[in-house]
């Protein structure tokens, strides 16, 4: 079993101190749930997300497992990206955004008082819809995240770190001879893999991906999907995708969100079903899921 967990996490503000990289060890037997599954790496409990007075997402309770790919699917406006961004407090960057309920990461609420959102984002990396490498060299793109994380190693240690991240992101062979060239000189698919390498260089154990293939061609998309399947051996991946076939191809579990109209005519996202992917795409439990995946939709 390759599951990894942290015994304790320090997500509090650490001025000037070296950020901790995850101390990992196998989950103890007593941590296993009654169903034999390891405890979730991230768990939301009755989570609501508001933008000002508008409730964007209502009462989401989800448990994401170790070493699995979980897909969030649903129509536009169902709140799946909002949910994803809530998992590493990325929504905090939106001034009106507010999250209630709990988001437990290794058993600690990331929205608790005193938790530093930046520390959260170091542990829970994110890859965005559009590749967004910095206008710096490929080498610097990778080292940046590690430096933010307090990396102060020697040049050869930095070289190793960069190579390791690029190897894991399956792009090393393509860029090893041009590490000092701009990250922006790469193709779209390569840029996205560079961004994945940058995300994992901070040694997170969860990687969030927000439609990471939506701007890529089918071949580049397949390479990212292959990479995800490889990466799940070391990380838990949560992906938002509009592409149901992509969710079906890569994910172990899929959450379907739908839009509910309230009495004020506001559209609030709700979790309808979270099931093993093979079950959700062949015999979904809920009629709303069935309607969505067969293209019958209100």
């Amino acid at each position: 079993m390759t599951n990894e967990t942290q015994e304790t996490l320090d997500l509090t503000e650490q001025e000037g101190s070296e950020a901790t990289s995850p101390t990992t060890e196998a989950p103890a037997a007593e941590q296993m749930g009654s169903n034999g599954l390891a405890p979730g790496v991230i768990e939301t409990k009755n989570m609501d997300v508001f933008y000002g007075d508008f409730k964007a997402v209502h009462d989401v309770s989800l448990k994401f497992q170790f070493n699995e790919i979980s897909a969030l699917i649903g129509p536009s406006g169902c709140g799946k990206s909002t949910v994803l961004r809530s998992l590493n407090r990325m929504n905090d960057l939106i001034p009106t955004a507010r999250t209630t309920g709990e988001v437990m990461y290794h058993g600690a609420n990331i929205y608790a008082d005193g938790v530093d959102p930046v520390a959260v984002r170091r542990q829970i990396g994110m890859v965005f819809q559009k590749p967004n490498p910095f206008p710096k060299t490929i080498y610097q793109n990778i080292l940046w995240g590690a430096k933010i994380n307090g990396f102060k190693g020697s040049k050869s240690e930095a070289d190793d770190l960069v190579e390791n991240a690029l190897q894991q992101a399956a792009i090393w062979d393509e860029v090893k001879d041009k590490l000092q060239e701009s990250g922006l000189s790469l193709s779209g698919g390569q840029q996205q893999r560079l961004c994945i390498a940058r995300a994992i260089a901070t040694q997170p154990d969860v990687v969030l991906m927000d439609e990471p293939c939506s701007s890529l061609d089918p071949i580049a998309t397949l390479r990212i999907e292959e990479l995800m399947l490889e990466l799940k051996k070391r990380y838990s991946i949560i992906i938002v995708t509009h592409n149901m076939q992509q969710a079906a191809r890569v994910s172990d579990r899929t959450a379907f969100f739908n839009v509910e109209l309230n009495t004020k005519g506001q559209r609030t996202g709700e979790l309808i079903e979270f099931s093993p992917t093979d079950q959700l795409f062949t015999s979904p439990k809920e009629k709303a899921t069935e309607d969505y995946i067969t293209g019958r939709f209100g």
């Binding site: 739908n258 067969t294 209100g298």
Partner: protein, 234 residues
């Protein structure tokens, strides 16, 4: 929620057309059962030939369904109940094609048996089996079209008398064994009985596919038509 609308209307129209094509095969198979048994119990060679020609048409439809199915799957990659229907249609396409083949087997025995003496008691038993098997096919069709799980579950019970008659046919054959010409004829009728028994089993398979379509659970029926042993996992 607002009223549900179909945003995949072209695919669903194509799926429906494919479904009609597959169901046309079982309609034809039911007709072929009647004709094949008539030819083998009366020696009607013209009808036997018609059955063989109908099967040629059936084979063309079978290949056409395969072609359309592959195209539809490649283009649409359906999910959920649409995916289940696609898998069911592919299975039924083979099931109905094999029903047609069994009818051809019977028709060819009609050709082989031409001029041989016969025993009316055995002919009656074959007709009786046909009269049991045709309603099985009809019931399976209706269960599918009406999406009626309870009706689908009737099939195993309907199949039991067919199995009993098939088992009895061996005794009937042995009973005429002292006459070499009659034995030659009766041995072939034993194969007719076996073909009808297989068609009955295929009607049960059809009903099991309907149950899978409706429930999403794959299982063979037990004698009461309830889900018995599941296939696949472990």
């Amino acid at each position: 929620m607002t009223e549900t609308r179909d945003t995949n209307i072209h695919f669903h129209a194509e799926l429906e057309a494919l479904e009609h094509k597959v169901l046309s095969m079982v309609d034809r198979a039911e007709q072929m059962v009647e004709m094949a048994v008539q030819s083998v119990t009366t020696g009607d060679q013209e009808t036997a030939t018609k059955v063989i020609h109908l099967d040629d048409e059936m084979d063309k439809t079978y290949f056409g369904v395969h072609r359309d199915w592959t195209n539809l799957m490649a283009r649409q990659q359906p999910l959920g109940p649409d995916l289940r229907k696609m898998t069911v249609l592919l299975t039924l396409n083979s099931t109905f094609e094999r029903m047609g083949d069994q009818c051809v087997n019977i028709a060819k025995i009609a050709q082989f048996n031409e001029g041989l003496p016969s025993v009316e008691r055995i002919n009656d038993q074959v007709r009786e089996m046909k009269d049991l098997v045709r309603p099985m096919i009809r019931t399976a069709i209706e269960a599918y079209v009406r999406q009626d799980l309870d009706e689908a579950r009737l099939l195993p019970a309907m199949d039991q008398p067919v199995d009993r008659l098939n088992a009895n046919m061996y005794k009937e054959t042995v009973a005429v064994a002292s006459n070499p010409q009659l034995l030659e004829w009766a041995a072939k009728m034993l194969m007719v009985s076996r073909a009808l028994e297989r068609i009955g089993d295929q009607a049960v398979d059809f009903a099991e596919q309907t149950a899978y379509l409706l429930t999403g659970e794959r299982a063979e029926f037990d004698e009461e038509g309830m889900a018995g042993s599941a296939d696949g996992e472990n």
